[in-house]
């Protein structure tokens, strides 16, 4: 064997070894392949979700924009963080890596959140068991499911998935997720529409959301046109959307991409015109708030066959300017004294 063939053989052996190791980990690990931005653990979430959303928490909290706006009273800190803190005592900014929410379960206003990160399960379990939140617990699928307010309206629950995941939300959704996980089922793959939409999410996004037709069924079908009253013929009819995909990043500017699929190209064009109209209307308010004028350049709307794509890029300074409370208008000048009175 020549030295060249030895090199090629060694390289092939290295690749084969790596592949064997990887496949071994894949087969032995209960985690299965991820779909789009969805981590493998999230495939156990219920299939009857209307929408899925995810947040890369590490990226979110590391962003200067988050540091500027989320802290302090009235900040933009996500509600899910507050709920998580109350229920488990964990610090989301420090301990959580990723947050996935499956909402609209079975067409109801219920959801399940999967929190991935590094947690001390024992301490969290003890905190819940000794806390005063009226939690009961039971064993399911080899793990403990903590149920809150059982018997009072819709019960909620919390459970641990392996060493790095917490699932919390409606009791039915949590139990379904735990059972799927225990049986090694990728339940969410049963929702072909959402799985298909997930494959279109831009990889590496800080936050994303996909929703199917049923999520959008409750959207208003028309909005009042200029100078029209409710129900009048001058109302603008909004075309029906069949799916919605949102992706976004915080740095270096806040960028949001919204892709809505309409029923046909004409409906998409119609919807794009409506959105452009709203942006133009907002820009017209520039006399009251000059920052609004920048909106027109920050937002662009385009159509691609039956899809409408809204792209927004907001520099951090613009967001700060828009969020800043309106400065009180200067007091009207004192009327000039009547010269005749001075005499």
């Amino acid at each position: 064997m020549t030295r060249s063939r030895v090199v090629v053989s060694v390289a092939a052996a290295l690749v084969a070894l790596g592949l064997a190791a990887g496949l071994g980990v894949l087969v032995l690990s209960p985690a299965r392949a991820a779909v789009g931005p969805l981590p493998a653990e999230a495939l156990a979430l219920p299939a009857d979700a209307r929408f899925l959303m995810g947040v890369d928490v590490k990226r979110l909290v590391a962003s200067p924009l988050y540091a500027r706006f989320a802290k302090g009273p009235g900040g933009m800190r996500p509600d899910a963080f507050k709920v998580l803190e109350e229920r488990t005592g964990i610090d989301p900014e420090r301990d959580v890596r990723e947050l996935i929410v499956a909402g609209g379960l079975g067409g109801r206003n219920e959801g399940v959140a999967l929190v991935l990160g590094d947690f001390d399960q024992y301490q969290i379990g003890r905190a819940i068991e000794t806390g005063k939140k009226g939690a009961t617990w039971k064993k399911l699928g080899g793990t403990t499911v903590y149920v809150f307010s059982e018997g009072k309206g819709t019960p909620s629950a919390l459970s641990f998935l392996d060493g790095h995941g917490i699932v919390l939300g409606s009791a039915a959704g949590v139990e379904s997720t735990v059972e799927s996980r225990a049986e090694g089922r990728a339940a969410l793959k049963g929702n072909a529409v959402l799985v298909d939409l997930l494959s279109g999410v831009k990889p590496g996004s800080t936050f994303w959301m996909v929703g199917d037709q049923s999520l959008l069924a409750n959207m208003p079908t028309s909005i009042p046109g200029p100078g029209s009253s409710a129900g009048s013929s001058a109302n603008i009819t909004l075309p029906k959307l069949t799916s919605l995909t949102v992706t976004g990043d915080l740095d270096p500017v806040l960028s949001v991409d919204v892709v809505g699929a309409a029923t046909d190209a004409a409906a998409a064009s119609n919807l794009a015109d409506v959105v452009r109209g709203f942006v133009a209307l907002a820009a017209l308010q520039a006399s009251q708030k000059p920052e609004l004028k920048a909106l027109q350049t920050a937002i662009s709307v385009a159509t691609d066959q039956s899809r409408v794509r809204l792209t927004a890029r907001f520099p951090h300074d613009l967001i700060e300017a828009l969020a800043r409370p309106k400065a009180p208008s200067p007091a009207p000048p004192e009327p000039a004294p009547d010269p005749s009175r001075l005499r």
């Binding site: 590490k58 590496g204 662009s300």
Partner: protein, 275 residues
């Protein structure tokens, strides 16, 4: 014994069988290709991500919490390998398969042997693929494991399908760019400049709106990398992900067409060696 007689059981009036001839050319070319300055440079370029991955693990991981190991792996595969270094490696190696023989005036020795021209090209292409795959794939596998285990080994299993897909994409990139640059190599006397223009000017059309990306190779390859990093600016505005099935079919069909063209040109062209 007449000239028509067989030597060691072979009919010398006929060329060597295709496979045997291609294998002979493969051995000869591989030896020259693998132990060359070009390969030393390419080994450094293609192996650089392994060094960067180790650096990330040792030092950068703690300092850059916003950049996860998997994100960096995505950047390395989609931007470093698939967009830049793999096409460059294909350009350097594949354009020189025949051009170097012409330049060194050694093509005559090959062409006067009792072998078909198609087997010469096949052997050289096989040597090119063996060399580039040997230099690239181990580096990708090593980078994958170093980077995806940076936050612990829990998520590695779920990422393995991405590794398989990446290895396939890189191999396909080497095949399709190799076929293209082999054709340039047999067509042109100085194929390097047109090749560079193709890579770094024409391929930018992948970021344009409409159907322009379909006229590039990189748009199809990019669509096969599922964990590529998010784009910014114009690229983000117009970025289109082409369907995976369409991308693979197009790349395979393009490779076959370009290889067939290269074989046809090489088989019929008369090479005049300058004295």
């Amino acid at each position: 014994m007449s000239a028509q007689a067989s030597v060691a059981g072979r009919d010398t009036s006929r060329p060597l069988p295709f496979a045997a001839a291609a294998r002979g050319v493969f051995d000869l070319t591989l030896e020259g290709m693998l132990w060359s300055r070009r390969s030393a440079l390419m080994a450094v370029l293609l192996g650089l991500p392994v060094v960067l991955s180790l650096l990330y693990r040792v030092s950068l991981h703690a300092r850059m919490p916003r950049l996860t190991g998997y994100d960096l792996y995505g950047v390395l595969v989609a931007i470093y390998y698939v967009r830049n270094v793999v096409p460059l490696a294909a350009l350097f190696y594949a354009t020189s398969l025949i051009a170097d023989e012409v330049e060194g005036k050694t093509l005559t020795y090959l062409l006067t042997r009792p072998v078909r021209r198609s087997s010469i090209l096949a052997g050289k292409l096989a040597a090119y693929l063996a060399t580039t795959l040997s230099l690239t794939l181990p580096a990708v596998v090593a980078s994958f494991f170093v980077l995806t285990t940076a936050e612990g080994s829990a998520g590695v299993g779920a990422r393995v399908p991405d590794l398989l897909r990446d290895l396939g994409t890189i191999a396909l990139a080497l095949v399709v760019y190799g076929a293209l640059f082999t054709l340039l190599g047999v067509l042109l006397r100085r194929p390097m400049i047109p090749g560079l223009l193709f890579l770094f000017v024409w391929e930018l059309a992948a970021h344009l709106p409409g159907n322009m990306p379909r006229l590039t190779i990189t748009a199809y390859l990019r669509s096969l990398v599922s964990h590529r990093p998010a784009q910014e600016g114009l690229a983000a505005l117009f970025e289109r992900t082409l369907p995976a099935g369409e991308s693979i079919l197009t790349l395979v069909a393009l490779s076959l067409a370009l290889l067939a063209a290269a074989v046809a040109v090489f088989s019929s062209r008369e090479y005049v060696m300058e004295q």
